[in-house]
């Protein structure tokens, strides 16, 4: 302490280390709890109460700094029901609010998914180079390459299941076809297995098939990009140029008899509905 201090007579029991130093504790507790102290309390305690009242006083202009940021954070918070109260803001805007480290895995996952879908669509469309098409044929049941229909290309395990009308495709294949293609394009309705010469292509997918080349075996209709492509929803996600729509128009213009025998599929494939 610098300089002269208040005497004990002036502040009895107030300063520490002096007789009666603990007697002021109830008053100090009252100050801490912001309760009014009795009028008979020492003047210094009243001054102290004034100091504390100023410290806990009302807000000053600078005391509300950051309100806009806090409110913005609050409005960005998604609501429990899943819809943000910033509903007018687009999902794209919200995505840009994410930190970069959160966007990177998402973008990578989307790219991988798009690539996978595109590759699968291209494989089913028969648009891949022959060796890769053969691999796709072996692995995911895509149609074999047209230029080498009887050639067997062994890739990896030779025991890979070869889809045929008599065999059951692997679970993943089956799931893909059931959910992404019309019922008429299931493996059982494909006509590319020579072991089933009695098989004839179903009417629904035949309507989406382009006219075969003269050299093509009519008894073994090879699935074409159109009828082997996934469902329209998947096709729209695929970056492959072999999408359903352009080829459908050409198919419908094809003079093949299969077109005239087309009957609407109950599964509602989009191919026949496209105007010629």
């Amino acid at each position: 302490m610098n300089g002269p201090d208040a005497s004990h007579d002036e502040m009895p029991g107030f300063f520490p280390g002096r007789p009666g130093g603990e007697h002021d504790e109830p008053l100090l507790d009252m100050l801490l709890e912001r309760r009014p102290i009795p009028p008979g309390a020492p003047r210094e305690l009243h001054d102290l109460a004034c100091v504390l009242a100023v410290a806990a006083g009302p807000a000053e202009p600078g005391d509300l700094a950051g309100e806009a940021a806090a409110r913005a954070a609050f409005t960005r918070l998604p609501s429990p029901s899943g819809a943000s109260h910033a509903a007018p803001r687009s999902a794209r805007h919200r995505l840009t609010d994410w930190p970069a480290r959160g966007r990177l895995p998402l973008a990578a996952a989307l790219a991988v998914a798009a690539t996978g879908l595109g590759s699968a669509a291209a494989a089913y469309a028969g648009a891949l180079p022959s060796p890769i098409q053969h691999i796709a044929h072996e692995v995911i049941g895509a149609p074999p390459p047209q230029d080498a229909p009887g050639r067997s290309l062994v890739v990896g395990s030779s025991s890979a299941p070869v889809p045929s009308p008599q065999t059951t495709a692997p679970a993943s294949h089956k799931t893909l076809r059931v959910t992404a293609t019309p019922t008429s394009t299931r493996p059982g309705s494909w006509g590319w297995d020579s072991r089933n010469p009695r098989y004839s292509p179903g009417p629904t997918y035949a309507s989406c098939r382009p006219a075969p080349s003269p050299s093509q075996n009519q008894a073994r209709p090879t699935p074409t990009p159109t009828h082997m492509s996934p469902a329209p929803a998947s096709a729209s996600l695929s970056p492959s140029p072999h999408s359903v729509r352009p080829s459908v128009n050409r198919d419908l213009e094809s003079p093949r008899p299969a077109i005239s025998s087309w009957t609407p599929s109950p599964s509602g494939t989009s191919c026949p509905s496209v105007p010629g």
Partner: protein, 192 residues
């Protein structure tokens, strides 16, 4: 302090009512900033981090007003500690107590000076106390927390908190009652 309406306001804020959230913010932010200015040089940044965390956990919060404030000040203290770690060994700027003393002096009587003193000067006066005492007084008086809540926040026992608060208040009273401050008020040109 909001008082009896706190429960409804909190419920509204938890139901995405921005106006209710603003009420909560405006009620707590002044005391939060004053507390943070005592313990963190970058008080505004720490306050922003604190509110971000509060917003993130608001819907999960259950409790009364004093519990809400205790929760919020606990977050604030943690964020201040984190901020201090990130600043690592940056030297702290010591408070100029004489400035504070000059600011709250007045040419008139001492009580008038105390009544008229600015919040800034008072906070500087409290900041002149030993760190733990100043922090405890701020949490008890400015934040309005109870001793046991302050004890949880600062990691002491309620008894230790009470003792530290009493010591701090006594020192504060002795500083406010110093005759040299009254003498400073007579210096020409020294106004509040």
């Amino acid at each position: 302090m909001i008082g009896a309406a706190f429960r409804d306001i909190l419920a509204s804020a938890q139901a995405d009512d921005e106006a209710a959230f603003t009420q909560l913010f405006r009620d707590v932010q002044p005391s939060l900033l004053r507390y943070l200015r005592l313990i963190a040089p970058d008080a505004e940044d720490v306050a922003s981090d604190t509110w971000l965390q509060v917003v993130g956990g608001l819907r999960r919060f259950r409790g009364e007003e004093h519990e809400f404030r205790a929760w919020l000040f606990t977050i604030a203290r943690h964020r201040a500690v984190d901020s201090g770690r990130s600043r690592a060994r940056r030297p702290a700027v010591p408070l100029e107590l004489t400035e504070a003393e000059q600011q709250f002096t007045s040419p008139d009587a001492a009580d008038q000076a105390l009544e008229a003193m600015s919040t800034q000067a008072v906070l500087a006066l409290i900041a002149s106390l030993p760190g733990d005492q100043a922090e405890i007084i701020m949490l008890r008086v400015v934040a309005g927390l109870e001793a046991r809540e302050v004890a949880r926040i600062v990691g002491k026992t309620p008894g230790a908190v009470r003792v530290a608060a009493h010591r701090g208040l006594r020192k504060l009273a002795s500083v406010a009652a110093r005759p040299d401050i009254e003498r400073a008020s007579t210096k020409p040109g020294v106004t509040q």
